[in-house]
């Protein structure tokens, strides 16, 4: 193997080409615009003032909210892993009755998120919720407002953000070599030991990546605390959004965002450190596909089944209620009074017969598809290089590529505007504002960190001896990449593409600043129809759009992910493991989910 030092990178033409493109992209669209917006924010008159820090640190509310955000981030990193690993094992590792049905239930988080999800949980566990009413009959003394505060927020966000586990951890699990497990069992290892000593360690790169995402989701929590947090548990994001919108306070927003960003980067550094030096692929010469395991202890078996089905109910009830409520009128939704005979198609008729019709849907589908493909297509090369060459140059690029995680998307958009509203040599002397390209650029950049993390994790779990063998036999870099690596990471890449696509469909924060006036995407239309000072129709429309998006994202997931995993299922596995069910679903989970609801509550400004 050739070395991985910075110097050795220069010898490969592949590295030079990718490096040149990457350097230009990072400089033009990540560093320059964001530097501009940060300078404009922190040095408004050319001199720096410590005003923002002083104001923030002396504000009790800001400090408490910031603390809450961190608390939630840490707690979520743990709880999402617990629940996420459990549901992955139940659906993919253990032999559980009805695991395909269970899978569909757990997959419901793929298709919705944000404020509507929080509202869905409130319909069930809130003070007028179904479960609360039932419990009140059994325990008349209990507090009807039991489901609020930190506990409620943590519960809802935990169940809402297991999407990445279901996609990526499950996919990594399928790559585990079954022979290792069999060998361990022959040596007398218990189910628990196998799990702890063999299965989980192999999943580490993916678990690290999804843990960072959970942490980020917790830091950026917006709608769940707004709906369920009550007085005592509010997070920092609403404040960031308010301050971003006010030119005189934008420095506070930027400072807060930078604090959260630095925390995320620290988390990233810790995880990268933990990840270093491990071997995360099977080293056996002939690996075989995973087979489902029986839980031998009957008590444990019953317990696992019970918990699995309980979780199934927790996951599916809100979706069912949201679909039902989307047929009710807005007043009924908000007061929680619903009668079956009051359900009508009126909401759907109103939304779908607007003058703008299907056009915004088409615009959004095209933009999201392009951005998702470009981001994943480009980063496949980048992630490969970053995984292959571990030196300081690679690290610098890796951290630079995470810039979009640091700043809120409104600031990213403002940065692009102020950098490219005049002819700029970085983009060949053209003006980008007012064109259809600028929104695409923003969409691609926003998706870079997530895409990079997941792709890198998936490259980590590729057996290095495969490419070594190919290289020894004389295969060129691109040939190895195309014929050996790409097929192995393709399932993960498809899943990432689908998630990216879905998360951008209803984007508002970026589009509001960058969309071409004649090519307006769906997010702006949703906003116009749901904002109305949260009126009657507005809330009903929110539910309708959520259901419509569920349909689109469900179809995407089926087309991209469902088929990709079937392709992955080879003969032997196909017998052991029935062809993976087409998932009815996809995204708003992930950090992504919160970004999504950011737009719903970000600008009730009217």
């Amino acid at each position: 193997m050739s070395g991985t030092s910075a110097r050795s990178m220069l010898r490969s033409p592949f590295v030079l080409v990718v490096g040149a493109v990457l350097t230009w992209f990072v400089a033009a669209f990540l560093v320059w615009p964001n530097l501009n917006v940060l300078i404009a924010t922190f040095f408004p008159d050319g001199s720096f003032s410590g005003r923002a820090a002083e104001k923030l640190f002396s504000s009790q509310r800001a400090m408490k909210a910031l603390g809450n955000s961190f608390l939630l981030a840490v707690a979520l990193s743990i709880t999402v892993n617990l629940v996420g690993i459990f549901i992955v094992l139940v659906t993919h590792y253990f032999r559980i009755r009805g695991s395909r049905i269970l899978f569909l239930g757990y997959a419901s988080t793929f298709i919705y998120g944000g404020i509507v999800l929080a509202a869905g949980y409130k319909f069930i566990y809130g003070d007028k919720g179904i479960v609360t009413s039932l419990l009140m009959k059994v325990f008349p003394d209990m507090d009807p407002g039991w489901f609020s505060g930190f506990f409620a927020v943590l519960v809802v966000m935990t169940f809402a953000t297991t999407t990445n586990h279901m996609l990526f951890v499950a996919s990594a699990l399928k790559g585990i070599d079954y022979q290792t497990i069999e060998a361990a069992r022959n040596l007398g290892a218990s189910t628990w030991t196998i799990l702890r000593r063999i299965v989980l360690p192999m999943l580490k790169p993916t678990l690290f990546a999804v843990t960072i995402l959970s942490f980020l989701t917790g830091l950026g929590a917006l709608s769940a605390p707004q709906v369920l947090g009550g007085r005592d548990f509010q997070t920092i994001t609403p404040m960031i959004l308010t301050f971003t919108n006010s030119p005189t306070s934008r420095d506070l927003a930027a400072l807060l965002a930078v604090i959260l960003g630095v925390a995320t980067m620290l988390m990233l550094a810790v995880m990268s450190r933990l990840e270093k030096g491990g071997t995360y692929f099977s080293i056996s010469k002939v690996s075989s596909a995973l087979q489902k395991q029986d839980i031998s202890n009957p008590v444990a078996n019953v317990a696992v089944h019970a918990v699995a089905y309980l979780l199934f109910a927790v996951y599916t009830l809100p979706v069912v209620l949201i679909v039902v409520y989307s047929f009710a009128d807005g007043a009924a939704i908000q007061t929680g009074q619903i009668a079956l005979d009051s359900l009508t198609l009126d909401n759907y008729v109103r939304v779908l017969t607007q003058q703008s019709g299907l056009r915004p849907f088409i615009v959004s589908v095209i933009y999201s598809a392009l951005a998702a493909l470009i981001a994943v297509g480009g980063l496949l090369f980048v992630a490969r290089l970053l995984q292959r060459y571990k030196n300081w140059v690679a690290s610098v690029f890796e951290y630079l590529l995470h810039i979009p995680w640091i700043l809120p998307s409104a600031l990213l958009a403002l940065g692009l505007i102020i950098s490219y509203d005049h002819p700029n040599p970085l983009v060949g002397g053209t003006v980008l504002t007012g064109t259809t390209v600028i929104l695409l650029i923003a969409f691609v950049t926003v998706k870079i960190p997530f895409t990079l993390r997941m792709l890198k994790a998936s490259f980590e779990s590729v057996n290095a001896s495969l490419e070594e063998a190919a290289a020894i036999m004389g295969a060129k870099t691109l040939y190895v990449f195309r014929r050996i690596l790409l097929p192995l990471v393709l399932p993960a890449a498809s899943a990432i593409t689908a998630l990216n696509f879905n998360s951008m469909l209803d984007d508002y924060d970026t589009a509001i600043f960058l969309a071409h006036p004649l090519v307006q995407p769906l997010g702006l239309v949703i906003k116009a129809n749901t904002d109305g000072a949260e009126g009657v129709q507005g809330v009903a429309n929110t539910f309708v759009y959520t259901v419509l998006l569920m349909v689109i994202t469900g179809v995407t997931m089926y087309l991209v992910y469902g088929r990709a995993s079937r392709r992955g299922a080879t003969g032997k596995r196909a017998r052991a493991l029935p062809p993976v069910q087409p998932m009815t679903a996809s995204i708003p989970g992930s950090p992504v989910g919160e970004a999504l609801d950011g737009k719903e509550s970000a600008a009730p400004v009217r």
């Binding site: 104001k55 923030l56 002396s58 504000s59 509310r61 800001a62 707004q226 709906v227 009550g230 007085r231 404040m239 919108n245 006010s246 030119p247 005189t248 306070s249 506070l252 007043a331 908000q334 007061t335 003058q355 088409i362 615009v363 095209i366 598809a369 392009l370 493909l373 470009i374 297509g377 505007i417 509203d421 005049h422 504002t433 007012g434 259809t436 014929r483 790409l486 097929p487 509001i512 600043f513 969309a515 006036p517 004649l518 090519v519 307006q520 702006l524 906003k527 116009a528 129809n529 904002d531 109305g532 000072a533 949260e534 009126g535 009657v536 809330v539 600008a603 009730p604 400004v605 009217r606």
Partner: protein
């Protein structure tokens, strides 16, 4: 492996096709909106507004096209539209902006984004409501304190905002905001803080004034995301809160509650929605004609009739809902120094968010 190649090829083809689609979709689809040929897209006026919800944008597009204007309405919240106009000032995309209130427009004007223009209907409106130079008033909106009139008689109800936190019977019975991002919330605070103007105080407000703000937040019931105040009134969670005048009638009906409004002796703050020409537009003449048309008595009258609003144009009053006109005739407007408010609002919002909101 062949499968993979096909897949990649297909992906590339889709990308290219989608790219073409993205490029051509705009003229084709905007051709649908009005029957004018796509070549006319150069004359499409781009209109920024926060007043496009509940069918307003579509109504305007249709009526404008009947009058020979091809327009594209770009909707955004008040703060977003303001930020967008300011951010784009070097290379403006909008030709006309409307619907934002005087506070937002004075902020935009301060950034030198507006082109002075005196519309043909300038004589029919009260110039005091705009700046008499760049932005001109269209619609009046009163920012009110409303209460559940089934629970409180007129005498038992609060007589002013300050009663909410000084009288025990209203404590925890009123909804207080959880963020100051909305124009309505900012206007409520403009109304309250203006009473305590003290140039030696913090940000131009006396300590007494800031104490009122503190009390407001301590004694109110925090608003709940995606749950309308009227829904909370209907379910008995709270009995009163802030509301803009235009929504009351419709919400009363939807949530089956009766709401009366409080008129403090000092009067109520008015938000006046304005229209203005954007500096640097390449379609200046067309944009000016549009403003002349949109603010005219006829169009404003039709708008008022359709959306139950209160037009500023005196010629349009006849067409507006007589109840609305009577209500505004009886309304006492609070005397607010808008220049003072505009200068300080950013800092007030920041202080309140950081120090008083709990």
């Amino acid at each position: 492996m062949r499968k993979l190649q096909t897949l990649v090829a297909a992906a590339v083809a889709v990308t290219l096709l989608a790219g073409c689609g993205g490029g051509t979709a705009s003229p084709a689809a905007s051709g649908e909106a009005s029957t004018a040929p796509a070549a006319g897209s150069g004359e499409t006026l781009v209109i920024y507004t926060n007043s496009n919800g509940e069918g307003r944008g579509e109504w305007l597009t249709t009526k404008a096209s009947e009058a020979g204007f091809k327009i594209e309405v770009v909707g955004a919240g008040g703060a977003d539209a303001t930020n967008k106009l300011i951010a784009e000032k070097n290379n403006p995309i909008a030709d006309v902006a409307f619907g934002l209130n005087n506070m937002y427009f004075s902020q935009i004007k301060a950034e030198d984004v507006l082109e002075p223009y005196e519309p043909a209907w300038a004589g029919q409106v009260d110039k005091e409501l705009g700046d008499g130079e760049t932005y001109w008033p269209l619609v009046k909106q009163a920012i009110l304190l409303g209460y559940n009139s089934d629970k409180f008689s007129k005498d038992a109800a609060p007589q002013d905002w300050t009663d909410l936190w000084t009288k025990d019977e209203f404590k925890d019975r009123y909804e207080r905001v959880t963020g100051l991002g909305t124009a309505t919330a900012q206007l409520v605070f403009a109304g309250i803080l203006s009473r305590y103007r003290d140039d030696s105080g913090d940000l131009g407000i006396s300590d007494e004034g800031w104490k009122q703000v503190e009390q407001y937040f301590q004694n109110g019931s925090p608003a709940v995301a995606k749950t309308d105040l009227f829904a909370r009134i209907a379910s008995g969670e709270v009995d009163m809160g802030q509301m803009p005048s235009s929504i009351i009638a419709e919400r009363e009906k939807s949530f089956k509650v009766n709401v009366e409004t409080v008129i403090p002796s000092l009067g109520v703050p008015l938000a006046v929605e304005q229209v203005a020409l954007v500096k640097g537009t390449e379609k200046k003449e067309q944009a000016q004609k549009f403003i002349d048309w949109f603010g005219s008595a006829d169009v404003q009258g039709a708008w008022a009739q359709q959306f139950n609003s209160m037009p500023v144009n005196k010629g349009a009053e006849a067409k507006a809902n007589p109840e609305v006109v009577d209500f505004f005739a009886s309304l006492k407007q609070q005397d607010i120094d808008w220049e003072f408010v505009q200068e300080n609002m950013g800092a007030w919002v920041e202080k309140i968010e950081l120090e008083y909101m709990t």
